[in-house]
């Protein structure tokens, strides 16, 4: 973290996914819950919903200190994993989406800096058409919010 002491750190959480495809909506539903959650007073936490990430998100994130990309995961550990991500350029087959690492790389190239970035992968199970989360994903969502609050709180403690 390179947030100066005394500065109110700006944290952006991207919630990525389609809430019309059951557990794919984990990211957007996390954003809804962030709206009502309490965070340390020295942190300014904002949430943005995205179907997919794209080039303009490099512009959106450039003025934040920390960015968390929250997305549903079809495999991996339950309930969530958090990992730091760095810039990585990738070839696109279509214009329909960019990976979090690609958006970080684009931000770095265009604006000369990029926020410290993390991937929050919330385990999902059911990708059928529907607006409700599966029961297991619902539980993971609640744990994800708790873990995210704790994680963001630690960012505040680590300010230099």
């Amino acid at each position: 973290m390179t947030i100066p002491a005394g500065k109110r750190a700006k944290v952006l959480v991207f919630g990525i996914g389609n809430p019309g495809r059951r557990d794919d909506g984990l990211g957007p539903k996390l954003i809804e819950q962030i709206g009502g959650a309490e965070f340390p007073i020295m942190l300014n936490v904002a949430g943005e919903f995205r179907y997919q990430l794209n080039v303009e998100d490099a512009l959106t994130m450039k003025d934040f200190d920390v960015v968390v990309f929250a997305d549903a995961s079809r495999s991996g550990e339950e309930p969530i994993t958090i990992s730091e991500i760095g810039p990585a350029a990738e070839i696109a087959v279509t214009t329909h989406a960019m990976s979090p690492a690609s958006v970080v790389a684009l931000c770095l190239e265009l604006y000369g800096h990029a926020p410290r970035s993390y991937l929050l992968a919330i385990r999902g199970y059911d990708w059928d058409v529907g607006e409700d989360l599966s029961p297991a994903a619902e539980q993971n969502l609640q744990k994800a919010l708790e873990i995210l609050r704790e994680f963001i709180g630690r960012l505040e403690e680590s300010k230099g």
Binding site: G17, N18, D23, Y51, Q52, A72, A89, L106
Partner: protein, 482 residues
Amino acid sequence: MGRKITIEPVTRIEGHGKVTVQLDDAGHVQQSRFHIVEFRGFERFVQGRPYWEAPVLVERLCGICPVSHHLAAAKATDAIVGIGPEDLTPTGEKMRRLMHYGQMFQSHALHFFHLASPDLLFGADADPAIRNVIGVALMHKDLAVQGVLMRKFGQELILATAGKKIHGTGAVPGGINKNLSVEERDSFLKGPDPLNAKTMVAWAQGALDFFKDFHKKNKELIDGFAAFPSNHLSLVRKDGALDFYHGALRAITADGKRILDDVDYNDYLKYIGEEVRSWSYMKFPYLRSLGKQSGWYRVGPLARLNTCDFIPTPLAQKEFEIFRAYSKGKPNNRTLHTHWARLIELLHSGEVIQDLLNDPDLLGTDLVKKGKKGREGVGLVEAPRGTLFHHYRINSDDQIEMANLIVSTTNNNEPMNRAVHWVAMNILDKQKDITEGMLNRVEIAIRAYDPCLSCATHALGKMPLEVELYNAAGDLIARKSR
């Protein structure tokens, strides 16, 4: 028994593309296929829902062109409430047009800067670490910045007209639910550089000039790559003008003969059929009058500039005349000229946006009209990737009981297969392995159409692009992935 090469970008849970190329014992291409998993669950999803929800529900079909689905569904539900396309209030129609042309502008800009320009700037054989939008940002920061800001300008127009960038609610059956405020209009029209309409038009012209310059220096690639004759189909305005929001169906043959002209799209089922093939989840639309074998057609920018008679804005019309002159007035059947056509449409969209913003009707307060309610409605628009069909029928409780959607990518199913086959025959024939450059040439053919590989679901855990090589016995002998 030959070898089978599989190229499989598994980028979504439901939606992904896969290219299979079958070689014979001598290594010659026997057959190629581009498989796309088409997700048609939304047609079931909307059944039982009130018809007025359709314009919002269908936006979940696609994260990149939700406005197209929003407006096609809105036009279909207009018909259900008894309002024809010409019956909307001036404010209703022009707000929808501003929304739609804003979407075309941002989508076309994104395609050029994100998808096409890396191939043009660095070539198909360049290191994949450079041949991407990050590489463009590294080597040509001005182009990359313009791409991001043009996308943002279009997104802001969508926000102002639809209420939201993603799940807009602006269009409602019979009209629109908001007008444009003076402040919003002025910010788009006279806002500080670069986010104003004048700069956007200038940048669109710059992107087009960049492509034309590249074309002059690379005629063999741009003119010859994956070129093949096809029919073309699009909506065309009554007077023959290019129009993305409304018109009648027109279809022409590869040499310009009209197959359909001035056809009311409410009758589309009389003229267009959809063939099911056992090896693909996606249907193959065709013109009934020509039959399944020869009735397939292209949609999208290239098709639109082949079917229309003129473009009703001056800068784009000038470019259209150059474009048409290049193929001596005949239909243009060169796949990579789709990029050229797309950039002319980008310029046209910028000009239309500028004209609309100067129109006081956008500030009007008469937003919605009602007519005599019916049970069925069809709505078509020209989406960025081509003609988009929505068709709904409702029951006596106002619930949708039937929905039929033909999306642009489905319309382009056979052309994309033809483009991939061209690459297979010309690049992969007699090859024993697949290089990065060969793989990218397959992708270049697909990228010209920018297919929607079902945006419906997006989750982590997806696989990268993967290539598998099988020997004559069907054993996997090589795998290549990014």
